[in-house]
Symmetry: C2
Subunit: 199 residues, 2 copies
């Protein structure tokens, strides 16, 4: 048992609120995810929510930070595959693409799209997004074992991540996993050819 | 001079309303683009707007159709380049990627993201988006002069369009044209290699 059960409970509530915010933004959209909706989803009162986050803005900023941190953790936890050559490229590319699927990407997309029409939110989101982009890029460099000083290798990694974003967008409107599989296989083979013939 | 100036004026007003709707959705976001905001942007009264489109839903559906039609016209107008081989692939890929830039993509993205959290809107948008996707795919097949029955060529075209969407998304948060140029050049060279070595 913890000696500080109250702080633990408080931390757990905060965590639950952030997760509910991400979930509500992802599934209901940016403006429909109101404080009341989020409190109901987290199963706590509006008053308790406001104890943690006095304003919607504070909640949203904390949820955005949480969201980007979660996505960075997913990147850092990407297991270095015990494979070499084209097989290794294949596994890493599939893992990178999967990073962009699910609630976290959907919530991030809602935030981006809201930010595109709101300069104040853009200022909050741009640095978080840049931090995330750097973390994903660094993980890709590490797991693909490429030389980050090689401009061609850098461009190939960026292409992989832009493709992943485009595939995630396509998945937004319809479940797209079979088509995605085919495209990712094709790209992984082309990427392996470029990276391996270069080395 | 037209014999039917009244109908012409009415058609011009309707057209202006649809364009204002696309512009307001792209720059202000889905929910901020209200009927009043759109009427003001088009420089007409709310009453005149409601004469053309009695409800916001009718206006929005008409604007979505208009938006997808405009994007299809851009696709169909893609001039067949008087080039062959890798140079031709290069020009076509750049043209395809540019289709996804600007207000039309931004408005479409707002619509997609709103639809992702709204089943009723999803039903309206999915068929429009499918029609647009088919038109872009057909234009790519035609201008790249590939065999659409070849599954590898089909996948390569889909990869090109998913990459274009991902690049458009990156451009949403910051002007990204230099980086995009580099990625598109690299992908065009890889695509040309695949398509030409295949033939």
């Amino acid at each position: 048992m913890s000696l500080a059960p109250k702080q633990d409970r408080s931390r757990a509530t905060r965590q639950r609120l952030l997760e509910s915010t991400v979930h509500c933004v992802a599934t209901r959209g940016w403006s429909a995810a109101t404080v009341s909706v989020i409190a109901a989803d987290a199963g706590i009162s509006r008053g308790a929510l406001q104890h943690h986050f006095p304003t919607r803005e504070e909640l949203v900023v904390a949820a955005l930070e949480h969201m980007f941190d979660e996505r960075r953790l997913m990147v850092e936890a990407m297991a270095p595959p015990q494979l070499t050559g084209a097989e290794r490229v294949h596994v890493v590319v599939h893992t990178l693409v999967e990073l962009y699927m699910g609630d976290l990407f959907r919530a991030a997309l809602q935030a981006w799209v809201a930010a595109a029409a709101d300069p104040q939110m853009l200022e909050i989101i741009q640095p978080l997004e840049r931090r995330f982009a750097r973390a994903v890029h660094a993980a890709a460099v590490e797991h693909l074992e490429v030389d980050d000083d090689d401009p061609h290798a850098r461009t190939l990694i960026q292409t992989t991540l832009d493709l992943a974003r485009g595939l995630a967008l396509a998945d937004l409107l319809s479940d797209d996993s079979k088509r995605r599989q085919r495209i990712v296989d094709t790209w992984a083979a082309m990427l392996a050819h470029e990276l391996i013939s270069e080395a």
